[in-house]
């Protein structure tokens, strides 16, 4: 039988009324609070009994001395003299318990109690969350500015940070407002000489924001993944769950044996290692069965393994070199990136196996969020201008009709036109480099393919 219990408690720390009620209920079930951690509250097994609890806020700043200061100990002594037993401290919150129902309450003046709570809450809640809001607003505004200015680079480099910070704003605001409302009600009650009976205050960030963030991140990941990959992730979760169940069953079986504690511990440890090894082995065995990303493109050749691309059958690529030039044997590379669903990037490279100089490179930026289209276009052209040194320049072509596009930009070297273009078609910005001088027909075929890409 387990002697320790870990629970995620959703109490706001100033919600002393419900903390006290909850601890009383837990003690009646045979669990006594042992530790208040950042995430978990730890309970120790005891005989079920009727115990009263008091959650008290120590008014002084104890930052200078994290250990039990003399003042604080003096405070605890006074509570002990009144019949209360000290349970634990968590920062400025002290928990006391009393088995006697006639114990004098630790707080007998609502006004004084509220002053203490407010001192504690001012630094922990109001200033703390206010700082979060300021940081989140600054970061979100800065991210917004960067997304407008350099959307592709920003979304590619700091995707998770951009996704994460805005979540701080609503939950920080909620916590501040929730506390201020509580304080207003408690103050009104204290002025009438009454203690405010707090309604259950749920920690919004734990209940709502964190699951929302995890869920949205998961959803985003699942949207990027293909069905085979999702199945693989589901397999990993189910496999892990089965192994955990097996481990629990074995551990239970060990606990019923008459082995010594050390022997049980050894066997449990040994079992855990075997199961972890089984998990790794399972992944290694099952992984080849699940097709990898973009496996919809059939591999051309296993003999060529580039470092950052995977070689896929070219016929499914957005633009196909063989459609433009009659050649045999093509090496194709394909890469796909999804940036926060606002932008997708497809990169393809193809070259002839017979003649390396016949090559075609095509980077397609799909802008799914139209307000940032111009910023994306500007960023691509600016980057191209920065990258294009040694006499390269990029100019807008007056006639985009050959491409059947909205806008076309072309590279020039020393005033001579090159075979590299930036083409804007619908929601796509395409950087295309031909390894040869394309004819208007070839451009028209490429443009048609890219329009449907």
């Amino acid at each position: 039988m387990r002697d320790l219990k870990y629970r995620i408690e959703l109490f706001s720390l100033y919600d002393h009324t419900n903390i006290e009620k909850h601890l009383k209920k837990m003690a009646a079930k045979g669990w006594m609070l042992e530790k208040i951690g950042r995430t978990f509250w730890v309970y120790n097994r005891i005989e079920p009994q009727n115990i009263n609890f008091s959650a008290v806020y120590y008014p002084k700043d104890i930052n200078e001395d994290k250990n039990m200061s003399e003042d604080r100990q003096n405070f605890i002594d006074m509570c002990t003299c009144a019949g209360w037993s000290f349970v634990l401290s968590s920062d400025k919150l002290h928990i006391f318990c009393c088995k006697n129902n006639d114990c004098i309450p630790i707080e007998t003046d609502a006004q004084i109690q509220l002053e203490c709570i407010h001192k504690f809450a001012k630094s922990e809640i109001i200033y703390g969350y206010f700082f979060f809001i300021i940081a989140a607003v600054i970061f979100t505004a800065f991210s917004g500015y960067l997304i407008c200015k350099e959307p592709i680079e920003t979304l590619a480099d700091s995707l998770d940070a951009i996704w994460f910070w805005p979540f701080f704003i609503p939950f920080s605001l909620y916590n501040i407002i929730k506390y201020l409302i509580w304080h207003k009600n408690a103050k009104a009650a204290a002025e009438r000489g009454e203690f405010y009976e707090t309604k259950r205050i749920i920690r919004f960030e734990v209940l709502f924001c964190l699951p929302l963030y995890i869920f949205s991140s998961l959803l985003r990941t699942l949207m990027i993944l293909e069905i085979q990959q999702i199945l693989f992730v589901i397999f990993l979760i189910i496999f892990a769950a089965i192994l955990v169940c097996i481990f629990k069953a074995i551990r239970k079986a060990y606990s019923k044996t008459k082995l010594s504690e050390n022997a049980k511990l050894f066997f449990k440890f040994y079992t855990a290692i075997v199961l972890v090894a089984a998990y790794i082995a399972g992944i290694v065995l099952i992984y080849p069965i699940f097709p990898k990303s973009s496996e919809k493109f059939k591999k051309d050749s296993d003999s060529f393994i580039p470092s950052s691309y995977t070689v896929y059958h070219h016929k499914n690529l957005p633009v196909n070199l063989e459609d433009l030039i009659p050649i045999n044997g093509v090496v194709s590379k394909y890469k796909f990136n999804d940036y926060l669903l606002l932008i997708n990037l497809e990169k393809t490279e193809q070259y002839s196996l017979e003649d390396n100089s016949i090559e075609l490179s095509c980077d397609i930026t799909h802008v799914n969020f139209s307000p940032i289209f111009n910023a994306c276009k500007k960023e691509i052209i600016t980057i191209s201008e920065k990258v294009a040194k040694n006499g390269f320049t990029i100019k807008k072509e007056a006639d985009a009709s050959v491409w059947n596009a909205d806008e076309v930009y072309r590279y020039y070297k020393d005033g001579e036109p090159c075979n590299s273009y930036v083409v804007c078609i619908d929601d796509k910005i395409i950087q295309i480099i031909f390894g040869w001088e394309p004819t208007n027909e070839q451009i028209a075929i490429a443009a048609e393919k890219l329009k449907n890409a």
């Binding site: 008014p59 006074m78 209360w84 630790i106 707080e107 007998t108 003046d109 109690q113 002025e191």
Partner: protein
């Protein structure tokens, strides 16, 4: 409108200050108040601790000695004056009550 601090005293404040006419430590005050009022007024240790801190800050009481973690306090002149003011206020209230309602009650 909230009252200015210690402009008027709550019952708990009044009895705590009264206990400190003579030197007394925190833990003894709780018991003294209970006895003084036949259990009508009880002062919780949390409330007492905070009030003692505030009284010291306002110079209404002062610390006389520290034995280990046991601290003793006594009323200052300012504290005595405040207690007397409060007593007079209560007496005035009682007097007013007698004048206006006492006769009616006698009838």
């Amino acid at each position: 409108m909230p009252r200015a601090k210690f402009q008027t005293l709550t019952e708990q404040m009044f009895y705590i200050l009264m206990c400190l006419k003579n030197e007394c430590c925190g833990t003894d005050i709780m018991e003294k108040v209970r006895k003084m009022t036949n259990g009508r007024i009880v002062v919780g240790p949390g409330t007492l601790y905070n009030l003692l801190e505030q009284f010291v800050e306002e110079d209404l009481i002062c610390e006389t000695k520290i034995e280990g973690r046991k601290r003793s306090y006594i009323l200052t002149d300012k504290g005595k004056k405040l207690l007397e003011t409060e007593y007079n206020r209560i007496c005035t209230q009682a007097e007013d009550f007698r004048r206006f309602l006492g006769k009616e009650n006698d009838k």
